[in-house]
């Protein structure tokens, strides 16, 4: 299996973009029950990182995890059904937008409590190390997560045990409404902490999908080859608010404008056209994906809600929920 080329990466990013734009509009129509956190503008991280993973590798993300699940191959209809509370949701309607998981595709979950999944990533990587399977674990999280204890314990354990795990911090410069610079005592939330765990300082332009592919690719290779963990800081920006309910008004307009210019899709489009791909072809891809997702949304919305009986399954491995006789 080869590493995907720029056009494939473009197409994937396009897909994530339109998926999330669609989710945003469904949310605004009141069709999504519960909160939704969009990764619009951060697609290059998910796509670039996923492009260097093999089937069987593990990845994990946050409540802002649609892109990470889809980039590993989670079926869009099942993810959308999960968001919309329809039959066939990827977690049966029990996870919702914040808890997308697709074990079949190696995506071991989106986690809604900041930092909580970094220790879990250690465990997946630990299993791979014990069994010498060569599987690598990639764990995505935000800049704000670098301040919580679980981050520290997990990166430290990974370094002590030399685990095959790559921690990817998506530094989008905000934790909810607060600029990250207000709540860290260093310049860069992840990179400036790496040395505390004996790790290299790695920074990558998170809006440049090719750069992410290369830098995360190196880290994944190192992990696979037994050289232990890495901590990568991918610098990016979310184009919308913290959640779909947030307008993001606390951000200076010039800042948003500056980052709009660095939109990862525009960047890759520019690379591709410079390399000779016709702009029309890219437009076509874009239009096709957009239409496909509109159609998909229609189909999923036509499904019924999950059977209430499903609320009572999956607590225990025998399928039941009973805790007593």
């Amino acid at each position: 299996m080869g590493v995907p080329d720029d056009l494939e990466l473009f197409e994937q990013m396009c897909f994530l973009r339109h998926f999330e734009e669609r989710a945003d509009s469904l949310y605004r129509q009141g069709l999504i029950h519960g909160p939704v956190h969009l990764g619009l503008g951060q697609e290059a991280v998910a796509v670039g990182a996923a492009s260097v993973l093999r089937p069987g590798d593990y990845s994990l993300g946050t409540y802002r995890g649609h892109a990470h699940a889809l980039a590993r191959g989670a079926p869009a209809d099942a993810v959308l059904a999960e968001l919309l509370g329809r039959e066939g949701g990827i977690c049966g309607g029990k996870g919702g937008s914040m808890h997308i998981t697709s074990v079949e595709h190696g995506y071991y979950g989106s986690y809604a409590i900041v930092g909580a999944h970094l220790p879990v990533a250690c465990g997946l990587a630990w299993a791979a190390r014990i069994r010498r399977t060569g599987q690598v674990t990639v764990c995505f999280f935000g800049d704000g997560a670098t301040n919580i204890g679980a981050f520290h314990e997990a990166v430290n354990l990974a370094a002590v045990w030399r685990l095959p795990v790559v921690f990817v911090c998506e530094n989008n410069w905000y934790m909810e409404y607060t600029p990250i610079g207000d709540v860290i005592p260093v310049a860069l939330p992840a990179a400036d902490r790496a040395a505390a765990y004996g790790l290299d300082r790695i920074v990558v332009d998170g809006n440049d999908v090719a750069a992410v592919r290369e830098v995360v690719g190196d880290a994944v290779r190192a992990a696979r080859d037994g050289h232990g963990p890495s901590l990568v800081e991918a610098q990016t920006y979310r184009l919308k608010g913290h959640s779909a309910a947030d307008g993001g008004a606390y951000r200076p307009a010039e800042e948003v404008a500056r980052w709009r210019e660095r939109d990862p899709l525009l960047r890759t489009r520019a690379t591709l056209t410079a390399e000779g791909t016709a702009a029309g072809k890219l437009d076509e891809i874009d239009a096709r994906i957009k239409a496909d997702l509109a159609e998909l949304a229609r189909q999923v919305l036509a499904r019924p809600a999950p059977d209430p009986a499903g609320a009572w399954t999956d607590v225990w491995s025998d399928g039941s929920w009973q805790w007593r006789n």
Partner: protein, 337 residues
């Protein structure tokens, strides 16, 4: 006083207490800009940066800083955004804050408040943002626990919590933040403050005692309305605080009605309702004419899809059904009291 929503009541109680006592300081994530539930809006502007502090995402540091500042004589109010996140600082809450006065033989006081958004209420927040976790706090001696059922309660109990010299965990219900009602003046100088440890009878009735807390008080009232149409008169008690617990209010009501149904949003496996039921089974045994019955949140992690969530949340029909069951299973009262 004016009509306020529950969230405005929280902000107004904070403002009242901050104006009254300059030892009251706030800390938490995004609190300076008003908080994600908009319960701290305007406070930084009004009271200054020395009174309202934004923190990193560091719940252990937040709870610990509140503890240390309280030991030093301030009266900190820490926001833990979602009550589910108490798990990330449970050591600070359960092992330090709850115990330090005792462990030091009374050398220190902890006049602090931890507050945040609790509960499901059908908003689709799921298992990690939608739990009701009063039961976590109630397992630990040394924490007072308040859980307001409406805007006036939210105001008065929070004000009382801030004035109390012991640590108080205030569980605000996220599905109630939008509710509106008029604030009665209850304190001197037109201040609004309620006692901790005093339940409130929100509806009188002779046939059965319904005990609720926070969001289930409203559910109990709605069930009582439904039952009234059938000629069943339910008494509804809002506990307001779990610690101190006004067990006497429950016991005296049960002495009159002979029947008890407890409605709790937390899962029943070990919910606060078990404690109420156990007290009644021990201390009101002679008064009981029917089995003590509990209606609890589903004993599952909370699902998100609306159809599933409605299935496990406490509902009017489940409470009303429980009351009908209790009345059907009743025997004649064994005592003449």
């Amino acid at each position: 006083m004016a009509e306020l929503t529950y969230r405005q009541a929280v902000a107004a109680a904070l403002a009242q207490e901050m104006a009254r006592d300059d030892r009251v300081v706030l800390l938490g994530e995004d609190v300076a800009s008003g908080g994600v539930f908009k319960t701290t809006g305007g406070l930084r502007e009004r009271f200054g940066a020395d009174r309202v502090w934004d923190t990193p995402i560091s719940e252990q540091a937040i709870a610990g800083a509140a503890m240390g500042a309280a030991m030093a004589g301030l009266r900190p109010v820490a926001e833990i955004m979602f009550a589910d996140f108490y798990a990330t600082c449970w050591d600070q809450v359960a092992n330090e804050i709850a115990k330090v006065r005792y462990m030091t033989g009374g050398q220190v006081s902890l006049p602090l408040v931890l507050r945040g958004a609790n509960g499901s209420g059908g908003l689709g927040f799921g298992s990690q943002h939608g739990q009701s976790v009063e039961n976590w706090a109630m397992t630990v001696p040394g924490l007072k626990i308040a859980s307001p059922a409406g805007p006036a309660e939210a105001f008065g109990l929070l004000a009382a919590a801030i004035r109390d010299d012991d640590p108080v965990v205030v569980f605000e219900h996220k599905a109630l933040y939008g509710r509106k009602e008029a604030m009665p003046d209850t304190g001197p100088d037109g201040e609004h403050v309620l006692p901790l440890g005093q339940a409130r009878t929100v509806r009188a009735g002779r046939d059965v005692t319904l005990v609720g807390l926070s969001i289930t008080v409203g559910t109990c009232l709605a069930a009582a309305d439904e039952l009234a149409a059938e000629g069943i008169e339910a008494e509804v008690i809002d506990l307001r605080t779990l610690v101190p617990l006004d067990a006497a209010a429950v016991l005296s009501s049960v002495a009159r009605t002979g029947r008890l149904v407890v409605a709790e949003e937390n899962p029943g496996q070990l919910g606060w309702g078990a404690s109420i039921a156990a007290i009644a089974a021990q201390e009101a045994f002679g008064d009981l004419a029917a089995p003590v019955t509990r209606v609890s949140g589903g004993n599952v992690p909370l699902p998100v899809a609306a159809s599933l969530e409605a299935e496990v949340d406490v509902s009017v029909s489940r409470i009303a059904g429980a009351v009908r069951g209790v009345l059907g299973a009743s025997r004649p009262l064994s005592s003449t009291g």
